[in-house]
């Protein structure tokens, strides 16, 4: 197909000097080289240019009627972890019910602590509270990866979902951000929740007593 057979047998008059009959081959190697390069480029760019997304579900603004939902977790003080995000990548946290008056502020102030977004920061705190669930999910995932349990990806996901639903010990994380917080901070915290496999977390508005706590907090 790509061979061009050149007819060079026309030189009769030269007597002995006979032109050799040979076909001219076009060397396609450089062309192939270039093409494979281009193909690799296009293949890689198509696969990587897809942006990644993180799904977030917010509570509806005016819930119609909170009918008796079994999924509704009980509001237990000792399980409630409040994370308060502030400017300059600061995170404050305390365990317990949010303050409703100045007296509460005084009691919470003693356990109001500062942390950061590093892996020894909130991750440590959250993971400590959520260790039971985390290990459960982690071992299930590991079993699937190593091939110990042969279930499909979908059933693994529903298994994890079920773990989360029936979880009774893990923290209820309340994520609150003040005016100085950056968008990055909130994404980081939500991400931290999914890293630590936290079953229940919500983004809620900060109340004025908590804002007071931030001011009172040690710098």
């Amino acid at each position: 197909m790509a061979e061009i057979i050149a007819n060079e047998g026309g030189g009769k008059s030269h007597g002995k000097k006979r032109a050799k009959k040979h076909s001219t081959h076009i060397d396609m190697t450089p062309m192939v080289d270039l093409m494979s390069l281009l193909i690799t480029f296009f293949m890689l760019t198509t696969a990587f240019s897809k942006p990644k997304v993180m799904e977030i579900i917010l509570p509806e603004k005016d819930p119609i009627e909170n009918n008796e939902n079994e999924d509704q977790a009980e509001f237990i003080g000792s399980r409630t972890l409040n994370l308060i995000l502030s400017g300059d990548d600061k995170v404050y946290y305390y365990v317990g019910k949010p303050p409703m008056n100045d007296e509460d502020v005084a009691t919470i102030q003693t356990k109001f602590q500062k942390t950061d977004y590093s892996k020894d920061g909130i991750r440590k705190i959250v993971l400590k509270m959520n260790m039971l669930l985390y290990e459960k999910v982690d071992s299930a995932t590991q079993n699937v990866i190593t091939g110990k349990s042969k279930i499909s990806q979908d059933s693994l996901l529903s298994l994890i979902k079920n773990f989360k639903k029936t979880d009774k010990k893990g923290p209820l994380v309340m994520i609150k951000a003040d005016k100085k917080a950056k968008y990055k901070n909130i994404v980081d915290v939500i991400d931290e929740m999914s890293i630590c496999n936290v079953a229940r977390y919500a983004i809620v508005d900060i109340n004025k007593y908590e804002e007071k706590l931030i001011i009172l907090a040690p710098k």
Partner: protein, 210 residues
């Protein structure tokens, strides 16, 4: 006995089928690649571990820039025959007393994300090039007195009920602005949406945390 004559010739591999195949593949990839649409603003998204990829169709996206301005983009829906973009633009024009010609509507359908006030929309569409267009990209108003973004979202939802929302915020944008965007989405009964992020892998050793 006939003598067996061994032919001495350099083995030549015929590369023609290979080239054929490569050309085919190249054409395929070149045609299927959709290059990133030009975005009105550069947004540096935060990182997360999420590996879900964004849907490439039937989307509306709100961009939050570093300086807390909002930009918006939406597509024609599941298939371009529904002309969602044109319908929404007409609706917005009616709301703000701007009349668009057929040519302008057609032009708008081709354009991508924008951060233009309705007052400047006509000028934006009729701009010759991207630099001229950039002048009108001052961010869509979203305060309570003139919440144009809310209207955009509302009419997009009205003409395309199955549309999925995504927020692409800059890491350094304020949470307050993001909250306002979330509120706009919640006002339009969209409480499940996506946040665009960059993938970042995280390894956890349980023993470190015990």
């Amino acid at each position: 006995m006939a003598k067996l004559k061994v032919k001495h010739s350099t083995p030549h591999i015929d590369m023609t089928p290979m080239v054929d195949l490569f050309t085919l593949l190249l054409t395929f990839f070149m045609l299927t690649t959709s290059f990133k649409p030009t975005e009105a603003v550069i947004v540096d998204t935060p990182n997360s571990i999420s590996e879900t990829t964004a849907p490439d169709k039937n989307m509306m996206m709100i961009f939050i820039s570093k300086d807390n301005k909002l930009y918006y983009s939406f597509d024609n829906g599941k298939d371009s025959t529904s002309h969602v973009r044109v319908k929404v633009l007409e609706e917005m024009g009616k709301q703000y007393g701007v009349n668009f010609t057929e040519k302008e509507k057609e032009e708008f359908e081709k354009l991508g994300s924008f951060g233009v006030k309705m007052e400047d929309m006509k000028k934006w569409i009729n701009s010759k090039d991207a630099t001229e267009r950039g002048k009108y990209n001052t961010g869509i108003p979203y305060d309570s007195t003139d919440n144009q973004l809310n209207k955009w979202v509302l009419y997009t939802r009205f003409h395309n009920q199955t549309v999925q929302a995504a927020v692409k915020g800059d890491a350094l944008a304020d949470y307050e602005t993001a909250k306002k965007v979330f509120d706009i989405l919640l006002d339009n009964k969209l409480n499940k949406f996506n946040l665009t992020t960059n993938l970042e892998k995280v390894e956890i050793k349980v023993s470190d945390y015990k």
